[in-house]
């Protein structure tokens, strides 16, 4: 096996070069060439990533390999290098990012071809992949943070890609600011780590923690992990910072697939899995993570049920699925969470790209009430989308089944209530996904006549990625078969040198089969319900709870009234009253009173000698009196 891990810097280097070429020549580059350069850069990274993956998989691999580039920040005893870490966890994420990234680049060459900003688009997309790779490859938290904020920037740029629309740039701004709130948590977490351990390097930190020699109190570890988790709620769209993700659908659809489904939003899961050693020492934080994850999974699923925008349904579904992953992390099933990251990346990218194909055919229409019967005109899109729906709903033998089953089992082992609620969320998932599928692809067409005439299957550059992702959505789960089916869980074994599940309980085989049966039956039932409800849909004005769901529980309005507007009001008060009238008023007041005093004093200069003598005598008398009493 070649020594690929030493060449790891090539993986982010290729997209960086792609970004620089397209970015610097943005106004000279032909569109097609920009697409080729952008895609080729990611393909090259993918090739190197494959080499690294096979090297790491080889039993002779002694990990982790750390590649130092140069000292980034050095001051006194503080030394933070720009360094990459190659191990099982990072190499797995490399494959997901560059692999799916490449497919989405190829898809974009066709999807974005009509857009005048295509060169800029590929520059941003390459910059995103570069940042994401930094995030994953960093050997310390600071490099992760660089990538972390970098992907946030690219997300901002791509959500606001069509910058002429006010609504879109608002969404971009919202995404960036909400991420920044999380980033402050990340930053404080880093400060705590540096302050207590004097290092940000994973290897040094986890060695210290693992050795049991550290004298840092467990309350500090709890605070550190909570701070990092706050960062994760921002990036991975969890309660309370999830509301930016649905708005982020303003960006081009392939961006939603890559950034807002498959890769960037899973950064929070990566971060916690990476810090598994530390989180295992903070049971309180793990409980918080589990509760927040489960609550998010449920909340987002309820909202998804009443959305009519094809991308919004998928967005809330993403939030909900991310919640599942955090639930897994929270019960200590780190590798299971990563497993779900992978399968979710396959089927959610597939469905987003599928929705892009639909939107493309519908000439920009995203409202599923105006679709219907598209399956007849768009065979490939329809079948691949169906595969995605089956996978996410956890229908047996599809990839999502295995990863979701693993999460549910782990949740049950931890606490049966978690399991019950998670099954509830999974039932809703099956329902809203098939609601989406039936409304879009079956029945009769409900749009305009022109739209119907325009309907067509997308070109090969778009359908090929769909087909590849569909295959992965089917077979992707077989690397992580549950214990009752196979002795070897290849996925967990691969990750074992880096991160292991924590506090695993072993259930009896019968129990595991029973749980599997319950969740499968629940999902299939909900698919049936969706079928009966939406084969022949009727849309009425929603009332009561349905209306609340349609308005996303009014969370945006709530945030607006308890956070945004008070801050604006406070700022206005500070500007108008405290600043202009208060502080500046005092400053000007001092000036005015000096002037006033000067004017008064000037009155004394009357020019009459008699008055001066009078004052002089008065002064002498005063002095004498004073000195008389003074001496006494």
């Amino acid at each position: 096996m070649g020594n690929f891990s030493q060449l790891v810097y090539l993986v982010p280097l290729f997209p960086l070069i792609g970004f620089l070429i397209n970015g610097l020549l943005w106004n000279k580059m032909p569109k097609t060439l920009a697409g080729i350069i952008g895609s080729a850069a990611i393909l090259a990274s993918f090739a190197v990533s494959l080499g690294i993956f096979f090297e790491v998989r080889n039993p002779s691999f002694q990990g982790p390999v750390i590649v130092n580039l140069f000292d980034f920040i050095q001051s006194g005893a503080l030394r933070i290098p720009l360094a990459f870490q190659v191990d099982a966890l990072s190499s797995l994420f490399l494959l997901i990012i560059t692999g799916i990234g490449f497919l989405i680049h190829v898809y974009s060459t066709s999807y974005m071809h009509h857009d005048e900003g295509m060169v800029k688009y590929f520059a941003y997309l390459n910059l995103f992949v570069f940042s994401m790779l930094l995030l994953i490859l960093g050997a310390n938290y600071l490099v992760m943070f660089i990538g972390w904020e970098g992907v946030g920037l690219c997300s901002y740029l791509l959500i606001g890609f069509w910058f002429k629309k006010r609504e879109y740039t608002n969404a971009a701004k919202k995404a960036f600011v909400m991420n920044r709130i999380g980033d402050l948590g990340f930053l404080v977490g880093m400060l705590l780590v540096l302050y207590n351990f004097g290092t940000l390097s994973y290897k040094e930190l986890f060695t210290t923690l693992g050795s049991g020699m550290s004298t840092v109190p467990s309350s500090t570890i709890t605070w550190i992990t909570i701070c990092f988790f706050i960062g994760a709620t921002g990036k991975s769209a969890q309660i309370p910072l999830y509301t930016w993700l649905p708005d982020a659908m303003a960006g081009p659809t392939p961006v939603s697939a890559l950034i807002h489904a498959a890769t960037m939003v899973t950064a929070g899961i990566y971060m916690i899995a990476r810090s598994g050693v530390m989180y295992s020492m903070a049971p309180l934080t793990l409980n918080i993570v589990a509760v927040v994850g489960l609550a998010t999974a449920l909340l987002a699923a309820t909202i998804a049920i009443r959305q009519y925008d094809i991308k919004k349904v998928l967005a809330y579904s993403t939030v909900s699925q991310l919640g599942f992953m955090f639930l897994a992390l929270g019960v200590g099933a780190y590798t299971t969470a990563v497993f779900h990251v992978m399968t979710h990346a396959f089927f959610k990218a597939l469905m987003f790209l599928g929705s892009g194909s639909v939107i493309h055919a519908m000439d920009g229409e995203q409202d599923i009430r105006k679709m219907g019967g598209l399956g007849k005109k768009m065979r490939i899109t329809s079948i691949t989308f169906l595969i995605g729906c089956l996978a996410i709903s956890g229908v047996p033998m599809f990839s999502g089944f295995f990863s979701k089953d693993a999460i549910l089992t782990a949740a049950f082992a931890h606490n049966p209530i978690l399991f019950a609620l998670a099954v509830l969320a999974a039932m809703m998932t099956a329902f809203y996904m098939f609601r989406l599928y039936f409304l879009t692809f079956t029945g009769t067409f409900r749009g305009t006549h022109e739209q119907e005439h325009h309907l067509h299957e997308s070109p090969i550059a778009m359908t090929a990625p769909l087909m590849i992702l569909a295959i992965l959505s089917i077979v992707g789960g077989y690397v992580g078969l549950p214990e009752v089916m196979s002795e070897h869980n290849l996925f967990n074994e691969y990750l074992a040198p880096v991160v292991k599940n924590f506090g695993e309980h072993h259930l009896s085989a019968g129990m595991e089969w029973a749980l599997m049966g319950i969740s499968t039956a629940a999902s299939l039932t909900m698919i049936g319900v969706a079928y009966t409800m939406f084969r022949k849909p009727a849309f009425a004005e929603s009332t009561g709870i349905a209306k609340i769901l349609e308005n996303k529980w009014y969370v945006d309005e709530l945030y607006d009234s308890i956070i945004v507007r008070p801050i604006e009001a406070l700022s206005g008060v500070l500007d108008r009253f405290v600043e202009k009238m208060g502080i500046d008023g005092i400053v000007n007041g001092v000036g005015k009173s000096v002037k006033w005093g000067g004017d008064r004093l000037r009155m004394l200069q009357t020019g009459q000698v008699g008055f001066y003598i009078f004052i002089m005598v008065l002064g002498m008398v005063a002095l004498f009196t004073l000195s008389f009493f003074w001496v006494k």
Partner: protein
């Protein structure tokens, strides 16, 4: 001798400039600033184990000597002054001012004063240069400024002059405490000050601190600043915000901290609290501004607040971060003002509610604006991040009460900073084209000026080592 030249080149060319008319004055100023930059780059590349110095008898009667010294911090700030002044002159190439001879003459005189402030190692000499840097700015502001320039300049003048006098009286007091004949040399002043009993240091602290706090400015001594930035012509705003605010911070680090250690230790908590209030307060006010110049002015108060808070946290990494940030803030805010002046020149307004669509009509300018704004909110891999990260480290690990609370409150600045900065981008760069005026994209000289700024932003953001190496020694020395 080279240090003397750093002052003499702008001083002589500046004086000469008054006699020159038209474009020749512009050319003279450009050549002069390039020459000074070259020299300051040479000084910065030097070896600081034996710092460059210059010493000459000056006014023996008062016990003051003409002595200059360049360590890492001084030469870094001279380099910053050199770069900023050159970029300003490059940006001025396609702009016209009334009475160019006097305008550029005053600019150069101010540069001479700045160089002197950063190099002087004699307190009285320092004071003289401090005033030499300021006085030309009063004239520039009152002669070439905006509509409300007279009252604004008057306020600015009174404000800073009161501060200067307080500083002067403190310096005289300190020199009277020096053993033997009066001396104003850095060594004897700091020695005399540090030997004073704690209660004396505590009240002397405020005499000196207020002068520097006004200059930075620190909440609540800041109200002259947004008005002055708004009313000054852009080249002067750049001198004020990129360079003169650094005079205040530099003076704290160079003079106040070593001279009155007990006073500084006693009042550190108060200063940190004021600075942190300033960060949140100025950030909030920035959110509701509609004039870009005022927005950036408040943003700058917030940034200076973080630097000042960290300086008083007395931590090695933090102090190092403050040094780095002094340089980077100067570069970034110069870039900001350049863009603002281009906006004003093209669209005739700085009111964000009337702007929009720059990304469509002047895309190169919009790209530059976005990059500089990102540096302003300290995005990693821009120069702004390095200092900010180190400063947060320093604040968190600093010797102050409630360091966690202070750090988190100061951290709110990075969220609020994102809010107002992205608002500004959205309102100016995005949206539909404003049809009022057809705007041209960057002219060649504007392109070059911004390219210098952006190159530094990216280079020092990715590879900050040169800057860190330059200032490591001084940072360690101050916190010792």
């Amino acid at each position: 001798m080279i240090l003397l030249l750093l002052i003499l080149i702008p001083l002589i060319t500046g004086a000469f400039s008054f006699a020159v008319k038209g474009d020749a004055a512009k050319a003279l100023a450009l050549i002069s600033t390039i020459a000074t930059l070259g020299l300051s780059a040479y000084v910065s590349a030097g070896n600081f184990s034996a710092p460059m110095s210059f010493d000459q008898e000056w006014i023996p009667l008062l016990g003051t000597r003409f002595s200059l010294m360049a360590d890492g911090m001084s030469s870094m700030l001279c380099l910053l002054t050199g770069i900023v002044m050159m970029v300003v002159m490059i940006a001025q190439i396609n702009k016209d001012v009334e009475n160019p001879g006097s305008f550029y003459g005053l600019m150069l005189l101010s540069q001479a004063g700045l160089m002197g402030v950063f190099l002087a190692s004699d307190a009285l000499l320092f004071y003289v240069f401090w005033e030499l840097a300021l006085i030309p700015v009063y004239f520039l502001c009152s002669q070439w400024g905006g509509e409300k320039r007279i009252p604004v300049t008057f306020k600015f003048f009174i404000y800073t002059f009161v501060g200067s006098l307080m500083m002067l009286s403190a310096l005289i007091y300190l020199s009277l405490q020096t053993p033997g004949a009066n001396s104003y040399s850095w060594a004897s002043i700091t020695h005399a000050g540090a030997a004073l009993p704690a209660d004396k240091q505590q009240w002397l602290f405020w005499l000196i601190f207020i002068a520097f706090a006004i200059k930075m400015p620190i909440f609540p001594f800041h109200t002259w600043q947004p008005d002055a930035y708004e009313q000054s012509p852009t080249p002067v705003t750049i001198i004020l915000s990129a360079l003169m605010v650094k005079m205040g911070l530099y003076a704290i680090l160079r003079w106040l901290m070593p001279t009155l250690p007990a006073g500084v230790a006693y009042w550190s908590d108060v200063v940190v609290v004021l600075s942190v209030i300033g960060i949140v307060y100025a950030s909030c006010i920035a959110i509701v501004q509609t004039d870009i110049k005022r927005l950036i002015a408040y943003s700058s108060i917030a940034h200076m607040g973080l630097m000042c808070a960290t300086a008083f946290a007395h931590n090695g990494v933090g102090m190092h971060g403050v040094m780095v940030q002094m340089f980077n803030h100067g570069i970034n805010i110069t870039g900001m003002w350049l863009i603002v002046s281009m906006i004003e020149q093209r669209w005739g307004t700085r009111d964000m509610t009337k702007l929009g669509g720059m990304a469509s009509s002047a895309p190169q300018m919009a790209i530059a604006f976005v990059i500089i704004s990102l540096a302003n909110i300290a995005l990693p891999l821009t120069n702004g991040f390095i200092g900010e990260f180190m400063m947060f480290n320093g604040l968190f690990g600093g010797m102050i009460s409630n360091h966690t609370v202070m750090t988190v409150l100061a951290g709110l600045g990075i969220i609020l900073g994102a809010v107002y900065t992205l608002n500004m981008i959205q309102k100016t760069a995005y949206g539909e084209k404003t049809t009022m005026v057809m705007a041209k994209d960057l002219a060649l000289n504007e392109y070059v000026g911004l390219a210098v700024v952006i190159t530094l932003i990216v280079f020092l953001g990715v590879y900050p080592k040169p800057l860190l190496d330059l200032t490591a020694g001084v940072a360690q020395m101050i916190v010792k």
